[in-house]
Structure formats: structure tokens, C-alpha cells
Symmetry: C2
Subunit: 392 residues, 2 copies
């Protein structure tokens, strides 16, 4: 397995085009169209928020048709959510894209990210669609065009072998704010050429998303728009994967790696984030409790502000364990910060971890001693800049 | 009903003493002892956090003994939570207090608030106990001594009539951080002279707390220490309240008022708060859903930072409604900001509320059109100062 710097263009036949439509008031790139020379098998996971943006509602229906996909139109700067004309905007964009690219309407998906509740000026998108210049190289600009308050593009690609044949997975993502477990303002587009049946493509995506994008938290808010797409051209020369065999495991392994790396890039670039914090809850009664406890810690303002201040203040972590309502041993639970057992079965250890807290990457482990389940999450600290970004 | 400025000393026989024990490193008052000349009927509500501070565990057991109370020893600056010697500290404080005040051990309750996980230097409390000066006037200093990051004391007292006899309720509270519904780092001590049976005293407290302290949120973190005490000397000349009659209703009404005013003082003085935000969710399927929806909005970092920035950004409120998972009409829900219907059954109204957002008090109403239940909460914005207070 070799990392390649070609983003989604690591997959042969995937091209991108970008534009400045004027939706973003600062005049930055705000439109990306991702295009495949070949019809792609595809699947996607979407926000669990009951208030879904118009493009999400559209894409969910499109996915259910089980038809191949050729293009994804993505705008940033406006979420196309909670407005009267949301559906109409999506339909008009799809119609125009299918005409211009000469593909079927059902081969076009649409994604939006940005402010909720303002009308999407889709005329700006439609007029920009007419002058698009598609190329493989443009994938990096496409990764830029989908950003909102992100400060960096997020691209990961690998080439690897199945059956001795070279195959590829390349993805891009945007994140920054409204990031909470279970898909949050996060868009991710992953392409592959691995020859695989659709059911297994979907199964692999679900598993990879569950272990990566669904385990990150910036602010605990779940967005109306998040979507993670996986498309395969199936042009790889491997024998078609039809069961969960060794070839599937290889594919799944690389897909997980791509998703995990993209997810961590989202956390690192979380709004105002200065820390990447890994939270492991282990020895839990069951996975649901491990997860509930990890999320309580990951979303706690008091924990996050303490992390920003580079203070362990593990008492705040202990309070989270308590209010998460999970089961812990009568002898108490333990908290380690960077391998140091600051709190051991209900009793404090006077261990100074202040120099460790200056690291950018912080590890926190909570052991509940009530079972064998565990859960891992990644979160950020909460800084002045988070407040600034979201209040101005 | 007349407001009086005497705090808990509005009730005859209630005296306070304070000290600077040195637990607070800045040398401020950090010990208050509240004392009643008469044995008091009492009840209390405590944190629902499974990690309870040692004094909370002690007081819960004490309450179950159903014996009268004479004194409450409160220290600030240290929570006496999650430490080896927590229980021992409480026992030593109780022993010493009972000796010095010449009362029974079971007549002494203990409360702590402050940092979690650091040993309580209870020797400092014990040596301060020896030189206490009790007076009615000291109640205001006691209200100061229980504060942590609060910027103001919080006292409310009323005198009113039952059966034509003058009776009183006076209370104090501290709040500031770790404030979340269901009792959070909040201590409140309320005294009355109303002559009432214990069962009804407890029932009234539960109802009043549920409508006030349990409906406020500063940061969504539930503390290990919060406690709300209600004590009655029963020295009022009203005929003893033995059933839920008119006299009970008068008593309950004033108690609710005292709790609500103290709760709002906590929100107003929330860490870094610049706004007091009332959130009403109405036309909900049931109260549980109304409450879940209100809490999602009250705890959302994106909503709170937008409020700090004096922007309505009601799309973030819509996103909360969605991820709270509550039922809303197929025609959509509505959001009003200061009586202006910014979002009406799924469609945006272009109403400018930017001048309204400059007010200190902000009203938000969400109507779900799925039933008749409603729930009201109070929350704050999230400012730079919140981050500062909790990271330094």
C-alpha cells in the first residue's frame, strides 16, 4: 500500500471542475463538480438529523433507485436547508448538470454545506455550470471549493494490490464546525476502482464510517447536511469481489484507513482546535455504555476548555463519567492521561501531567471495570477561536 | 407578599458565620456555617450525577434518617469529590461542628463546591470552626462565602401571610459553571418558618426545584456536588399545613418564586454570560419531547455562540430540533425570536431581528405542531469569558 498525492484523481477516470459562483461572499471557490468517465456503483451515509437539507432528501431518494452515478455537484457557503425553494433548487441544478454533461438526471447527486435557512441562489450555480473545465489535476481545487470554515484541504489516497492487480482509493472531505458523532457538517467523497459488488461496497462504507467519521466530535452539534459518498468505477482488474473474502478484507482495510485519516484531518482542523484528543473508554459493561461515556467526555465544555488551557483537571472527566450514567465498579473507575493513572479506582494519585498537557495530541483512557467493551473517539479542545468563528 | 432584603435571616432564628480558611488561594471567604436556633424539619434534592461528592453521599444518608437539622457547613474552593479521604473529611467536620455548636452529629449537614479531585484540607475548616461569630447580619457574608466563579451573591427573601399570620421564606444560592438541568454545580439553601408537615415540605421542594433549578443550563455539565436544601423551623403561627389546601398553595407559590428567582440569578451570572435566554418549546407531542428539544437548543454550542454574537442564525436552532429527534408536523415546525416568526412551518420568513438580538433578555419559541405539551428552559450565551474562566 502506497500513499499517493492525487486525491480522488488517484482513481482513473475521475475528473473535477471548480468555480467561484459568488455564493461565498469573500469570492472564494464555492462550487465543485466531481465527474466520472464511467458509470459508478455507489452508496452513501447521511446525517441522522431529522431536519435534512433539500439535497440530502434528494440524494437519499436517488440512492434508493440503485442506479449508477456519474457526477456530484457540491456547493459551499449555503446549506440549502430550511428554505421554501430548497427542493426546486436541487431539481434545477440536477437538470442543468445532466444537460451540460450529457448524462442522465439520475446520474447526478447534489450536496450543499454552509449557512442554514437562507435561500440558495441556485441561478449562480447554474450559470457557472456552463463554463466548467474538467481535469484530473482540478481535484485539489475541488477539495478547496467544498470547504467552509476549514483552514486546510483534506485529501487522502492510496494505491494497493488485490489479486496482484493495482487498485486505488482516493477521498476528500470538509469539516470544521457542527461536527458531532453520527455524521455532522461533514461532506466526504471517496472514489475507488476496486471491482466489487454493490452490497459489499455499501457494507464496507458503513463499517468504515462507523469507525471513523461517526467517532469524531468538535462541538456536539449534528448538521442537517452531512453526507459521505463512496463510488466505484469497478475498472480495477481484480476479480469482482462477491463475498467477504481476503480481497474484501484488503479493500475494507484501506477504506477504513482513508476514512480514519480524513476524519482525523477534520478533528485537527476543527473550528479553533489546538488539540487532537483521543478518548478511550474500556472495561465497560457494553459498547453502548462505552460510547455514551466517551461522548459525554468528548462533548463536555468543561473538559474541552481545560484541554485548551493545557490543564488535566481530570475531576471534570470524572464528573462526565458520573453524569453519563454508565456502570462502573463499586471500587470505582480509573482515568489515565497520557499513560499516567491520575485517578485509580476512585482514588486520586498525585501525578503531575502538566508537561504532557502541552502536547498537541492528548490521550485519555477511562476504565470502568464493569465489563470488556470499549469505544474510542476523537475530539478537540474549545478555544477562544471557536467562539470567535461562530459568533462573528 | 413583600420582598425583604434579609436573605435567609428573614426567618427568625437563622444565623450565619463565615471564615477565610485558606482553601481558596486568593484569600477570600470560603466557609459558611448556617445555623438554626431551632431544630428544623428538612429535605433536599441532590445531583443525579452517579459520581457524587463525599458530602452529598453523607447528606443523602443523613436525610434518610428523618431527624431534624440545626446546621449546614459549606466550604467553597474544593468539591471534596473523587479523593481518598473525602468521607473522613466530612465525618471530622461533622464531629467538630457538633462539639463546638453543642448539637447532635445528626443535626449537621455538609456541602462543598469547587475543584474536583483535590484533597480537601479539612484541617483548615476545623481550625476555623473554633472562632466563628454567628449573627443574622452575617447571612449576606455567608451568601458570599459559598461562591466560586460567581460574580455576585444570590439571595431572595419574602414575607407573606398564611391564615393571617406573617411567615417567611429566605434563600441563597451559588452557581456559575457546571450548570445543567437536573441539579448542577449549584448549592442552594432555603429556610422558612412556615409550619408544615415534612412530607408536604418535601413535595413542595421537589415541585419548586423541578420548575426552576432543573430548567437552567449554562454549559450542559452536571456537577458532582449540587444540592438544594429546604429547612423549616415551623415557628410560624399558621396552623400546621397537613394537606394540599389553600395554605399549602400559598406556601408552594412563594417557594416556587424564591427558587425561580434564585435560578435566574444563576443563569444571569453564568460563567461569561452576556445574555439570559428563555427557550419555550410548545405544541409538542409530550412533555418529555418538549424538554428534550429545549435542552438540545439550550446546550448547543452553535446556538450559544450565535447568541453571544447577537445573531439570530435560527438555522442552528432548526438543526437542534432535528437532532433532538422529537416529533414535528409534516408541514414543519416554527421558530419565533422575540415574537417574530423567523421560520414558519418549514419556510423561512425574511424578518430582520438583528436589533432585537442586542437585548440582554432573549425569547425563543419553537412550536412543533405535534401535540399540546410544552416546556420552558433558561440558558446563557457562550462567550470568550466562558473559555477564559474555564481554561486558565
Amino acid at each position: 500500500m502506497r500513499r499517493v498525492d492525487r486525491g480522488i484523481a488517484a482513481v482513473e477516470g475521475i475528473k473535477s471542475a471548480v468555480a467561484k459562483t459568488g455564493i461565498k461572499k469573500d469570492g472564494k471557490l464555492d462550487l465543485a463538480v466531481l465527474f466520472s468517465d464511467y458509470p459508478c456503483l455507489w452508496c452513501a451515509t447521511f446525517t441522522k438529523n431529522n431536519v435534512k437539507a433539500a439535497p440530502v432528501v434528494y440524494d437519499i431518494e436517488l440512492l434508493s433507485k440503485n442506479e449508477p452515478l456519474r457526477a456530484i455537484v457540491v456547493n459551499s457557503g449555503n446549506a440549502n436547508a430550511c428554505t421554501k425553494e430548497g427542493k426546486e433548487a436541487v431539481i434545477r441544478i440536477v437538470e442543468e448538470t445532466s444537460k451540460i454533461l450529457n448524462i442522465k438526471k439520475d446520474e447526478v447527486a447534489v450536496c450543499s454545506t454552509g449557512i442554514i435557512g437562507e435561500r440558495l441562489p441556485y441561478e449562480k450555480i447554474i450559470s457557472s455550470l456552463k463554463n466548467l473545465d474538467f481535469s484530473e489535476e482540478n481535484c485539489h481545487l475541488a477539495a478547496e471549493a467544498i470547504l467552509t470554515t476549514d483552514t486546510k484541504t483534506k485529501e487522502v489516497a492510496y494505491e494497493f494490490e488485490i489479486d496482484g492487480k493495482e487498485v486505488h482509493i482516493g477521498g476528500m472531505a470538509k469539516g470544521a464546525g457542527m461536527i458531532s458523532p453520527c455524521m455532522a457538517t461533514m461532506l466526504s467523497f471517496i472514489f475507488t476502482d476496486v471491482n466489487v459488488e454493490r452490497d459489499l461496497l455499501c457494507k464496507a462504507l458503513k463499517e468504515a464510517v462507523d469507525l471513523s467519521f461517526n467517532r469524531i466530535s468538535v462541538d456536539g452539534d449534528t448538521s442537517t447536511n452531512d453526507s459521505c459518498f463512496l463510488l466505484s468505477t469497478c475498472k480495477g482488474e481484480n476479480s469482482k469481489i462477491k463475498e467477504e473474502n481476503e480481497a474484501y478484507d484488503i479493500f475494507l482495510g484501506v477504506l477504513k484507513k482513508v476514512c480514519m485519516e480524513l476524519a482525523l484531518k477534520i478533528v485537527e482542523d476543527g473550528e479553533g482546535a489546538t488539540k487532537v484528543v483521543k478518548i478511550v473508554v474500556d472495561k465497560a459493561k457494553n459498547e453502548e455504555e462505552a460510547q455514551r461515556c466517551a461522548r459525554a467526555i468528548a462533548d463536555s465544555l468543561l473538559v474541552k476548555t481545560a484541554l485548551f488551557g493545557e490543564r488535566a483537571n481530570w475531576g471534570r472527566i470524572a464528573a462526565c463519567v458520573g453524569y453519563s450514567g454508565v456502570t462502573f465498579s463499586k471500587q470505582g473507575f480509573s482515568i489515565s492521561v497520557g499513560d499516567k493513572p491520575v485517578f485509580d479506582r476512585g482514588r486520586e494519585n498525585k501525578i503531575d501531567v502538566s508537561s504532557y498537557m502541552k502536547n498537541k495530541d492528548i490521550d485519555i483512557v477511562v476504565s470502568l471495570y464493569s465489563g470488556n467493551a470499549s469505544y474510542t473517539m476523537w475530539t478537540t479542545d474549545l478555544s477562544y477561536d471557536y467562539v470567535k468563528i461562530n459568533s462573528i
